[in-house]
Assembly symmetry: C2
Homo-oligomer: 180 residues x 2
């Protein structure tokens, strides 16, 4: 988002078929809640296409890509790295530090699928638990981003959208966007 | 949670196989982030078993059940009903009202799967959008609960747990719980 910390989300691990929707939801949640970019494993092309399609229709800027070298991305990241894990420090204890550190360096948020190897824990500046309970990487990412941006992501404006949902007390209202 | 609004989450719609993980994640997110109960469709027995197993191991109180009459549950609910939908009013505009109304009446939070019929929009006291963007019902539920409880759900204690994760800066630490 403009005038906000630059945030990239990287999704580790993807089993085609089985993980399609979870990976897609990680990417769509990253986009909707203020991240700038998501990097998926290189076998997650189907999820990438869905996320790119939503961005075309509902706006950006947001970028999605597949990569075969996510471990290297984490290792060589020039900025700070947060790894979301139920084993980590409590988000309410570390979020202020993460927020402060993100104002002048890009933040990489690592979201695991199944088992995450120990070198990811070591490469992270913070291992962060959104509760220390087993639940959902999508839920953890959502709460983390909402707290990182302190709700400002809910006010963001979208560029280049073809359509826009108008908030409504009952029913649905979708408008075409004419930016001409 | 004790001393908090009573919250039940109801998941509408479930296609066995295809929706297993999303439905499981809705239930686990409800549990981890402070709801008291989740009601799943009656064909979601596999998700119910997973959620019950996690509750046995990591504690409660939290209840999970399957029901064939979710529409009736919504229609006859004695309390307030929130339906989470990308077409709804902005969460930042209505959360204070929902919070105030939940202090003295149980809250039902409706989480849809695919297409939700119009009578659900009409039965809801609030249709609420966690952004008006397409993303994930799990993400929407997570942010909604975190805002409803204003973060207090992160401090809750768990009863009857067999094991407990101890927050850790690097690595994993899980302890057996001896409540004797």
């Amino acid at each position: 988002m403009q005038n906000e910390p630059e945030v990239t989300v990287v999704r580790l691990g993807h089993r085609p078929g089985r993980d399609e929707r979870m990976t897609t939801h990680v990417g769509l949640t990253a986009r909707a809640l203020g991240a700038d970019r998501v990097v998926l494993p290189d076998n997650a092309g189907k999820s990438r296409d869905t996320i790119a399609d939503i961005t075309d229709r509902f706006g950006g800027p947001f970028s999605v890509e597949c990569s075969g070298s996510q471990k290297a991305l984490i290792r060589n990241w020039e900025g700070r790295v947060v790894h979301l894990t139920m084993y980590g420090e409590r988000i309410q204890d570390v979020e202020a530090d993460v927020r402060a550190a993100s104002t002048d360096a890009p933040l990489l948020v690592v979201v695991g699928a199944e088992k995450v190897s120990f070198d990811v824990y070591e490469a992270a500046d913070w291992n962060v638990g959104v509760t220390n309970q087993p639940h959902s990487e999508v839920a953890g990412l959502a709460v983390f981003l909402d707290r990182l941006f302190e709700g400002r992501e809910l006010e963001r404006e979208w560029e280049g959208a073809e359509q826009r949902v108008i908030p409504k007390a009952t029913g649905k209202r979708v408008e075409s966007v004419d930016e001409g």
